[in-house]
């Protein structure tokens, strides 16, 4: 069994309560409105999908949540704290982890080192002992290595432990990236197209991992995905964006039947 546990005790937010809420967020790049006046919330413990056609502002939304972009208007409230501006490392230390659309692994490093990097925030032995690589530094290293090995077991990537990730096939890279995010023991995990470019088998594996993460650790998951089958199966609730606006929000069944969503995906007759 995994020793990695979500830090539920520290937050005091129970399952089903609002973990993160996006209120009237607008984001502009010069004259281009990437997101206009979007509000939705993510409940603790749920799998929340964000879908929409290309250019709908889904990735921009994630970038706002973890601090790569600062929305011009609106607020994002996370764990009850309302924030106008957040830096990526602040988001990380408050328990938000994420994976990227085009894999953003550290290509020159091994799988093990990549996942170990995910533990950076939890490691704090200083420069002196790091220089000697003895005593506290080594103890800390071993302690975190144990946690990382649990993640490696969980994701079934034991065989590629010591291989530089640049050499791995795409599907495995995606899996390592998920592992790196999990190593942060996040409370909110943002997945940007975790299944893009995968074959059916890899997709099924990935779905299994996502559900396991959600159910075993109680990690809240927000995911962007284009495969509707996956989205409808995995997610508890779905928010649909189009041209930066929210057009629908609700359970998969409600969203599926929504005329606006059907129009957005299939087009409208003029």
């Amino acid at each position: 069994m995994l020793h990695v546990s979500p830090n539920t005790a520290t937050t005091g937010i129970a399952k089903g309560e609002v973990l993160l809420s996006v209120e009237n967020v607008s984001l502009r790049f010069g004259g281009v409105k990437a997101i206009s006046d979007v509000s939705f919330d993510i409940l603790k413990g749920e799998v929340r999908a964000i879908i929409g056609p290309n250019g709908a502002g889904k990735t921009s939304m994630l970038n706002c949540i973890n601090g790569f972009y600062f929305p011009q208007e609106g607020h994002i409230t996370y764990k009850g704290v309302r924030r106008q501006k957040v830096r990526p490392h602040e988001a990380a230390s408050s328990g938000i982890a994420r994976t990227f659309q085009n894999v953003a692994l550290f290509k020159g490093m091994t799988t093990l080192d990549n996942i170990m990097t995910g533990r950076t925030l939890k490691m704090n032995v200083g420069l002196f002992w790091q220089l000697l690589r003895h005593g506290p530094a080594m103890r800390e290293e071993i302690e975190h290595r144990r946690k990382v090995e649990d993640i490696i077991d969980f994701l079934e990537i034991q065989a590629i432990r010591k291989i530089p990730v640049g050499k791995l096939p795409y599907g495995l890279q995606k899996r390592v990236e998920l592992g790196r995010a999990l190593a942060m023991e996040p409370e909110l995990l943002l997945l940007d197209e975790p299944m893009a470019g995968m074959n059916l088998e890899e997709k099924e594996d990935m779905c299994r991992f996502i559900l396991d993460v959600n159910q075993t650790f109680g990690t809240t998951i927000a995911l962007i995905e284009h495969d509707m089958g996956v989205v409808m199966d995995l997610s508890d609730r779905v928010v649909v964006l189009e041209y930066g606006r929210k057009i629908a929000d609700g359970t998969p069944d409600v969203v599926k039947a929504d005329q606006k969503v059907i129009d957005a995906y299939l087009g409208v007759a003029h």
């Binding site: 973890n66 790569f68 830096r87 990526p88 490392h89 988001a91 990380a92 230390s93 982890a97 994420r98 990227f100 953003a104 692994l105 550290f106 290509k107 020159g108 490093m109 080192d113 170990m116 990097t117 995910g118 950076t120 925030l121 490691m123 032995v125 420069l127 790091q130 220089l131 000697l132 690589r133 530094a137 080594m138 800390e140 290293e141 071993i142 290595r145 144990r146 090995e149 790196r180 942060m184």
Partner: protein, 358 residues
């Protein structure tokens, strides 16, 4: 055949995370250190003076720049300047406080170089790649100017140069004109082994991983909670520390005296960068390969070529060296960005599975 890891099982994480996990590697390192210890008593004074001493002194700077360029992905052209800071700091310290042992001052001079390095590393948060190289070029030229124009740094010597004073360790002279080459060599070797050990510990731990993370994908690194400014400035500090110690070794143990205008010029900065690229970015052993290459090549050409009947003058050899190093750097950048260290790795891999191809 003899390079197999069969039967060497790791039963705990500490063994698995060792820097040399394979027994043959550990034996190899022990043999290399043993040879290095015997070498000064076997090699001629000429080899000691023209190859081994500059090799040892410079390798520390090359490791330093490798930490910055190879591990953190920040190009610097100020390494010679930082070496100069170390050399001058050591000179001032030992002339101000002659009673403290020179070994301590050589080490301490690294801290001065680190402070200067951090200052000139500040732009690295905003600018990357070639533009950062240009910014560090400013450091190089400013420092070189300071070494020439601030006479306090060289104790108002009329010659404008550092004159290395006599300093002893347990009564044996280690710097200055009367010091034996062998003694200088062994002191240098001690520094090289110690500093390499520290550097290699650092790059294998949390700090090293965050440097490599910054190098490979800085936005993802930020998302792991790594503060880019801290990581980059620490890389500048450690890198400059190594350069500073190297500079002090270079002047006090190899040259025996130096004029900054000539010794710590931009040419040396470039040579150090080329040594990093030729040896292999992001590799400790590569740093030594690269240094050996740039230090040994001129001597081999100057004295080796005439010995086998090719008549070239010293000046021609000097130019040929620059041409070879330049051409090789370009070649490696295109064909094998990880340099000689990568070739070494491939060789070891082949050896492991020999006689089978894979």
């Amino acid at each position: 055949m003899f390079y197999r890891e069969t039967g060497q099982f790791k039963t705990n994480y500490a063994d698995d995370m060792a820097i040399f996990p394979i027994r043959q590697d550990r034996i190899g390192i022990a043999i290399i250190i043993a040879i290095a210890l015997i070498l000064p008593f076997v090699a001629s004074d000429f080899v000691l003076k023209t190859i081994l001493l500059p090799f040892l002194a410079l390798s520390v700077a090359v490791i330093g720049l490798n930490i910055l360029t190879g591990y953190t992905g920040l190009i610097s052209l100020g390494s010679a300047g930082f070496m100069g800071v170390g050399a001058y700091a050591c000179y001032k310290l030992t002339t101000l406080f002659p009673e403290v042992n020179i070994i301590i001052w050589i080490f301490a001079s690294g801290f001065f170089a680190a402070a200067v390095g951090v200052f000139f590393g500040l732009p690295s948060l905003r600018i990357k790649g070639l533009y950062l190289a240009v910014a560090t070029l400013a450091a190089q030229f400013f420092l070189q100017w300071a070494f020439v124009r601030i006479p306090w740094l060289f104790n108002y010597n009329p010659s404008g140069a550092i004159e290395v004073p006599l300093r002893t360790l347990f009564g044996v002279p280690i710097t200055g004109p009367t010091a034996e080459l062998e003694v200088k060599y062994l002191i240098c070797l001690g520094f090289v082994i110690g500093m390499t050990w520290l550097a290699s510990n650092l790059v294998h731990g949390r700090i090293g991983r965050s440097w490599m993370a910054v190098r490979d994908m800085d936005i993802a690194a930020e998302l792991m909670g790594i503060k880019l400014l801290n990581a980059k400035l620490l890389a500048f500090a450690v890198s400059s520390f190594f350069c500073g110690v190297s500079g002090a070794l270079f002047v006090f143990l190899y040259l025996g005296g130096a004029e900054a205008g000539t010794e710590f010029a931009i040419r040396l900065s470039f040579l150090i960068l080329f040594a990093v690229i030729i040896g292999g970015t992001g590799s400790m052993i590569g740093s030594f390969f690269g240094t050996a290459f740039i230090v040994a090549l001129p001597t081999i050409l100057k004295f080796g070529a005439p010995a086998i009947g090719i008549a070239i003058t010293g000046a021609t050899a000097e130019k040929i060296v620059l041409m070879i190093i330049g051409a090789l750097t370009i070649y490696l950048l295109i064909v094998e960005p990880h340099g000689l260290a990568r070739l070494w790795q491939i060789m070891k891999q082949k050896l492991r599975v020999w006689p089978f191809p894979y």
